[in-house]
């Protein structure tokens, strides 16, 4: 176990980073989308901190996973909800942990099935090594150096906290 990072402080820093990046790219009215489940919790906070006008969108990427034929589909898929027209908009995609990159690939595919956005940027609470796809975050709250058998998990939705578990087997 490492020392518990201060999530609130991290979220504020992420909000500031996002504000700067958006300003630098000249994006005034972005649409934020969180990925179920942890990504939605993080997005909800960032959405409030940034005071965005558009309602928050949520994605459940279960139908877009590339490991379906191995693990099947979970019956409790939360419906994706994008309460705005994706077409031509700037999207901020939010997730809790960026690891292999496969979840983000699935989320991008799903977003594009709703329409063609002008741009997509990625914000994550935790960035760790182990990428299997050419995907990187535009804004990352924390960098973690973890072993392959270690898992970082966000608990929520209130009092967000990170725990690190290792599969000692």
């Amino acid at each position: 176990m490492t020392t518990q990072p201060d999530i609130e402080q991290t979220l504020s820093a992420m909000a500031a980073g996002l504000r700067d990046t958006l300003a630098a790219r000249g994006i005034g009215n972005p649409c934020m989308v969180g990925i179920h489940t942890g990504g939605v919790w993080v997005a909800r906070r960032l959405h409030a901190l940034l005071g965005l006008d558009e309602p928050l969108g949520t994605l459940d990427i279960s139908f877009y996973r590339d490991d379906f034929s191995r693990i099947g589909v979970h019956p409790q898929v939360k419906p994706s909800n994008l309460p705005f027209d994706v077409e031509g908009r700037h999207i901020v995609l939010v997730d809790d942990v960026l690891y292999t990159g496969r979840t983000i690939r699935a989320a991008l595919n799903e977003i594009f099935d709703y329409g063609r956005p002008a741009s997509v940027m990625l914000a994550v609470l935790v960035e760790r090594g182990g990428r299997e796809l050419p995907i990187q975050a535009d804004v990352a709250g924390l960098q973690m150096d973890l072993e392959a058998d270690q898992q970082v998990k966000l608990t929520g939705p209130d009092n967000l906290a990170l725990t690190i578990q290792s599969h000692a087997e």
């Binding site: 496969r102 979840t103 799903e110």
Partner: protein, 326 residues
Amino acid sequence: MPNNIQLDSNGNLRHFLTVEGLKRQTLTEILDLAESFITVDAQSVKKVPLLRGKTIANLFFEASTRTRTTFELAAKRLSADVLNINIQTSATTKGESLLDMLHNLEAMHCDMFVVRHADSGAAHFIARHVAPHVSVVNAGDGRHAHPTQGMLDMFTIRRHKGPDFGRLRVAIVGDIMHSRVARSQIHALNILGVGELRAIAPKTLVPPEAEALGVHVFHDMARGLKDVDVVIMLRLQRERMQGALIPSGSEFFQLYGLSADTLALAKPDAIVMHPGPINRGIEIDSAVADGGQSVILEQVSNGIAVRMAVMSMCLGRAPEAAGEGS
């Protein structure tokens, strides 16, 4: 003989042949999953890549454009490749040629057969003889079962009346005897714990010992429809008008047809369902079929989501403990 060949050793759906014998939890999973597939309709690309690379063969030994189309759409929205095979059956389609054809399709690496056949038990027969990697979905076999239709009706009821079937009084009206749809609905409603289930029909169209299926039989529309929340009308096949089952379409409609007047006997917020295609003026009045209480068209679009759910459950494996959100 294995008691329920539609389940794998983990109790997960491998084939979908009949609703009978399934657990309430399995039915609820189908309905929940279908609920999430409804949102796919809102996408501009009405497709998810879940079954990409899978091949689904629609084997229709009995013609039905409507059912075949909804299965085809469901498969395509899951990104599967679809093969439509219509087999004109003479009465003598023998087992040998049927099995030969199945094995040929297996050799072409089909992953799922969606089967409709005029003989009860055809889907079970095929499921017993397919290769282990192939799933079979019953799209209607004889008078036996039409489980996806039964489930889409449950889905429609749940969307309108909420998840507690225990509060509901449901009436199924018409040709129960020859209806695979009715049998699937009856099993599904009982498994989901329906409050009361009624079958309303002339005695000639109620199968013997129907009460053993878990229905209360009524021969009188006024008594049968009293206080029901859901009215399910069944299609009366034209050929039933011969063979001394009913004297005529008009007398049948007089006694068992659904008109605005008879519908008034049910609860004011009762919904009206029909598996289609409708014989207007035989089992249901146009004004009722197109009226405010009718959910008949919704049933059709719900059918796609429910079939997507069944297909993806049969072709996916057990959702064990989900891995890290990578």
